[in-house]
Symmetry: C2
Amino acid sequence: MTTNKAVVLVSGGLDSATVLAMAKAQGHECHALSFDYGQRHRAELVAAARVVTAMGVASHRVVTLDLGSLGGSALTDAAIAVPETPGEGIPVTYVPARNTVFLAYALAWAEVLQAGHIFIGVNAVDYSGYPDCRPAFIEAFERMANLATKASVEGHALQVHTPLIHLSKADIIREGIRHGVDYALTVSCYQATASGEACGRCDSCRLRRQGFEAAGVADPTIYQKMAK
Amino acid sequence: MTTNKAVVLVSGGLDSATVLAMAKAQGHECHALSFDYGQRHRAELVAAARVVTAMGVASHRVVTLDLGSLGGSALTDAAIAVPETPGEGIPVTYVPARNTVFLAYALAWAEVLQAGHIFIGVNAVDYSGYPDCRPAFIEAFERMANLATKASVEGHALQVHTPLIHLSKADIIREGIRHGVDYALTVSCYQATASGEACGRCDSCRLRRQGFEAAGVADPTIYQKMAK
């Protein structure tokens, strides 16, 4: 087992680009994993390809997930509108068990690659409404993962790293800038155009814009003309 | 939340048909979930459709999984031969993190359906070589699942049921017969023909055949002519 191998979940958004930069800075051989899960913001996948090409990875896979067909989220179900004002509780943009499914695939690939590390850009501060972004969930997943695999039977531990989990959006941006991340390559908007222009109004756009302001960094996001 | 709703993983094999019968006998409203994951024994999916039609379910979904592309198993990778003699340790037919991925999808669907139960036919006796069939793994998954979802935040517990986990193959068959399962509908062979004829030689065929013998039940399996 090559213990410095890592599977890094790369969505094409700001957070996962930062995570990839941090994993590389720690000396990991990074294998990027992206998902095509019927999300509305497919411009993310184009951004993911840009990010991994610009930053360099050992390999990149895009796995197609049949998650949208199970329904239940504004991000995969066209019948549910993406909200443009912050709501109470768990947002409708929450995709049922999404991080569980993402991490399950990362675990499968880590086992095939004999990688001892998984990196995921979950954040408990800004996304506190998403149950599967909480530290207790990640800890429980890691514990389960260490009972799930051949490697675990053979005594090789797998670590799930969440370097952003307690950072604010501004802290994440500062960390990424320090590691040379070009955020112009990333797309965070829940309803970006095909070319990656952001709406400027959804929760994700709002958090991103506030993050750049708070970090004192110029926002490189390209917004749709209407949103200006 | 309708607490008697259950997601039941139905592969088309002997074990999951038995689990479905047991879940129905317990009064659950059963929603069957099958996976098309590039497995060689695709005759299983035809069998799954036969089983759920014969036994009756509230709904049936077949989710396509892009698991084969991650490689690493004789069941999804044509470059690895299916063994016909029992080996030591974890068999090459093990699919990396398969049950983790299956259960992650079951969890997602359970959340959409507001189901409080998942049934899976894992078995720690015959398949002790598969790490993700062990009771400790299932317990860890259930614990994680109860931190992963909206329902869990709202205080609704999800139970993962493994009614076969400590049964021998003969016990499973006796249980199924008691609940009226027609095992002629099921396919267990790792390399069945398109019409569902079994090879009679792989590990799965061997365990199934021995199970019928030990249970004192006539084996309804249709074997390929060459295997006789």
